[in-house]
């Protein structure tokens, strides 16, 4: 069995037993990337040299008997949205194409402290806005199971690199489903933690009240391992929860007793792909066979989730992205071109004899903002900025933003009520397996519905995990999702592990 076919947990055991070195492991993955990523496009940049140096340092430490971190020697791919000191952090946007971060995000700092080997930066939808990774300004990413299909998004690169065995562990971010949906479409495991469980410091913000960083891996065990390394309170993030984080890797293999699993009948209504439905029902059967009690629960406001999400997320995005103005860093339009453009407009107005129009031509500063942002942002980012700016405008704020916040509270209350009856809720993660590249890219509304099953966890701030439950006849991965009450990642991982274990046997 090749090294890259092993799980991260197995690789870790081999590293600890000194049967393999970190450098050998890194080399194996770099070779795999060299062979596969040309057709998949999961990575925006592979940091091979730095990875090998880090791996060598881990080997040296191990040889010297120095203490080693939790992920010592394990390659980790990082979504290109988390700041890493000295590295480009582009968010797959022209706007930040040349932005080199002068500081480490807390998650990257934690990975470094855990002696992980940072192997490369993965592709994504621009600023994490999208569900197909087609909104990347630089390249598409293809689904390793079918190169004509999307890996999902926005963490499409993060999921695809795990699915294609180009990295055992991968960091993604999830604002409305951006970890779970690509994990589901690529056949891997992805966890969106409780809001506030993982620090957002150094995560380039899309929608601050919804964004969470989380792990992707090929097994639940590996997911628990990576989660353990990145979770924890961070005083630099005011929304970080001041609670101690459990050692997930130590409990993940303990099955839950007397498990009560909630299902929502509406989740299985029209619109759900029959193969997908069968697979998700199969997962329910797995839990039944493990002695779990299946209980129907009601999430009456869930149907308003997508609508509320597509108000709140763009509102926050419109504000978060206003810092990209071409003044201090990031893409700036050519100043001579801007000056020339303005001069031409003035001259043209004067030639018409319209002095007022000539005087009304905007200032260089305003035009520089306009041009820089027009050139720097892609269509989907602009669309969301405009939706958000509109919804926050005087006269619309109450009708959109405040209303959406009310819906958000109701959704959280739905979950609180449901979780008084059950330990976990099980649902589909996507309505259908991976879609063809280009199929949804021109239909933003259809694309937004891709988030149907995932956005409520973000709105409620609760943890959720996506994991495989079969393959379609055409060979596409099928997945499902488990949701848990706030801060119950341990329960979530143990519950997910039960199904994974059972399905393997």
């Amino acid at each position: 069995m090749a090294l890259v076919d092993l799980s991260a947990t197995e690789q870790r055991a081999k590293l600890n037993a000194r049967e393999v070195t970190a450098v050998e492991l890194a080399q194996a993955y770099l070779a795999r990337i060299a062979a596969k990523d040309g057709e998949i496009g999961a990575f925006l940049r592979v940091t091979g040299e730095a990875a090998l140096a880090q791996a060598a340092e881990v080997d040296r430490k191990r040889a010297a008997g120095e203490p080693l971190g939790l992920l010592a020697g394990l390659p980790v791919a990082v979504k290109d949205v988390l700041c890493q000191q000295g590295e480009l952090t582009t968010c797959a946007s022209r706007m930040l194409e040349h932005f080199r971060s002068p500081y480490d995000s807390t998650v990257v700092a934690k990975l470094k402290a855990a002696d992980a080997v940072l192997i490369g930066r993965t592709n994504m939808d621009e600023f994490a806005m999208g569900g197909s990774t087609e909104n990347s300004a630089f390249q598409p990413t293809r689904n390793p199971h079918d190169l004509t299909r999307s890996p999902g998004g926005s963490s499409g690169g993060a999921a695809a690199c795990v699915a294609a065995k180009m990295a055992p562990l991968s960091i993604g971010t999830d604002t409305g489903g951006s970890i779970r949906q690509p994990a589901g479409l690529c056949g891997c495991v992805g966890l969106k933690p409780t809001y506030g469980r993982v620090s957002r410091y150094g995560l380039v913000a899309f929608a601050s009240s919804l964004d969470q960083v989380g792990p992707l891996a090929s097994t639940v065990e590996d997911t628990a391992l990576l989660m353990e390394a990145i979770a924890g309170h961070d005083p630099r993030d005011s929304t970080s929860l001041p609670v101690e984080s459990p050692k997930f890797s130590q409990t993940v293999n303990q099955p839950l007793k007397d498990l009560r699993i909630g299902i929502v009948p509406e989740h299985f209504a029209a619109g759900l792909d029959p193969e997908m439905e069968a697979a998700v029902r199969g997962a329910i059967e797995v839990y039944k066979s493990l002695g779990a009690k299946i209980v129907e629960v009601d999430l009456p406001h869930g149907k308003y989730g997508v609508a509320a999400y597509y108000v709140i997320a763009p509102c926050e995005a419109s504000s978060n992205l206003s810092r990209y103005d071409g003044i201090h860093y990031g893409h700036r339009a050519s100043e001579p071109a801007v000056e020339a453009e303005l001069a031409a407009e003035r001259a043209e107005a004067l030639a018409r004899g319209d002095k007022a129009a000539a005087e009304a031509v905007e200032s260089t500063l305003v035009r520089l903002y306009r041009r820089s942002r027009t050139e720097g942002f892609g269509a989907e980012v602009k669309r969301r900025i405009m939706i958000g700016a509109y919804a926050l405008s005087a006269g619309y704020y109450d009708a959109y933003y405040l209303k959406a916040l009310k819906v958000r509270r109701l959704i959280r209350q739905d979950f609180d009520r449901a979780f008084s009856q059950v330990d976990l809720i099980l649902s589909p993660v996507t309505a259908a397996p991976a879609f063809k590249l280009g199929k949804l890219v021109d239909d933003p509304l259809q694309m937004y519905l891709v988030d149907l099953y995932t956005v409520t966890a973000n709105l409620a701030g609760i943890p959720a995990i996506s994991l495989p439950c079969g393959m379609s006849k055409s060979g596409l991965p099928l997945g499902f999702q488990l949701l848990a009450p706030p801060l119950e990642e341990e329960r979530l991982l143990r519950g997910a592990r039960m199904c994974e274990e059972k399905r393997k046997s």
Binding site: C83, T89, R200, L203, S322, R323, H328, L392, Y397
Partner: protein, 488 residues
Amino acid sequence: MPDYTTIIGLEVHVQLATHSKLFCGCSTRFGAEPNTQTCPVCLGLPGALPVMNAEAVRLAVMTGLALDCEIPAYTKWDRKQYFYPDLPKGYQISQYDLPLTQKGRLEIRDDKERFASKEVRITRAHLEEDAGKSSHDEAAGKGDSLIDLNRTGTPLLEIVSEPDLRNSLEARAYLDELKLLLTYLGVSDCNMQEGSLRVDANVNLHIETPAGKVATPIVEIKNLNSFRAVERALDYEAQRQFREWEETGKKLGEAPKTTRGWDDVAGKTKAQRSKEESADYRYFPDPDLAPVRTSPEQLAKARAELPPRPAELREQLTREHKLSPYDAGVLVNLGRPVLDYFFAVVAKCGDAKAACNWITQDIQRTLKYRDREFAELNLPAERLGELIALVAKGELPTARSREVFEAMIDSGDDAHSVMQQLGIGAVDESELIALCQELLAANPRVVDDVKNGKQQAIGALIGQAKKKNPNADPARIRELCLELIAKM
């Protein structure tokens, strides 16, 4: 010509005296090399997050309490969004609909009683972060602009008054009293040159016309670089608005609120092309920051720790120390360190009036002439108290007390040793009588002149007396001579 009343409200921005910025750990020290006091947070780099500085909130709450404001149990941070090069995030973190403190008041008065004491209502005092500083180098031809982000993120308290001020005198008194209060609380150094106190004024007129009262459109005046500038600008603006109303007849509501900048050299306000006109700031709660909750316990503690306010101190000085309101005002205006010095002097000598006179007159005079700060005054309060006590007991002639005072400052010695060095001692009355008799005997012309009604002739004798005995009190010499002549 109809009568009008000027309606003025002031917005004062005060930099709070915290060591670090409002949402990051960068220093707030003034005058550093540009862009050296910055970090990912205040530079607005991608991914950076704000963390609230609790000390800034504590200072703001203290100020709110001192202004008799309500301190709501729950407030939040909002983003005020606009594009400007000195605002790297594209939004300013401020407080919109739930300020940290609101509905307070500040009493203003005039020592010279040019207006009656009144209470100015405070609408709100909220916290926000400062922007950076742009400088436009138009002279260089290319019109390059430079931006210094050292100031970005410095905590500002914006104190907004209701439109309760009616003229520039009242506005000045309000600013003086507010500055004094902030200084006494130690929440700001209020240095206008360094930008730690900035004032914007909102002005319009209520004009009495035969058809009833008419309000003119509100004008916001910016670029007010000193309190004097505020006074001048308000006076100018009232007249300008009246002229404009006569010309255009435009009333409040018929023209938008405009912004005018004060040109101190020209002595005029000038229309500004405002970035704020018709701007929609799209305020919304900052999702990166938790709401601020102030518990009743925290509030009680803050109230207990609140230092006495200038108004209370003036009251104490007039009530307990029997100073005149004028003296009390002058003393309090000199600041907390001087006031503490005063209390220490009084504790030593028991004479508040004398202590006040020495401190507000002699000490101020000598500091000025020595070009020294009060903190550099080489005269401990106990020693000044002792000096005052010696004068009161008659051991030190009043005539020579200033000489002793200056010598004490020069030498750093106490009053007794200085008096010894200068050979100063109390003069016995019989000694003085003998001296006067001697002088009168030697100067019959003076005696004659006085008898003929020219009392000022005595002056010649006083000079001679001082020569013979430097400790002789001139006033007493004069009295004794007149008495002796009368008996002749």
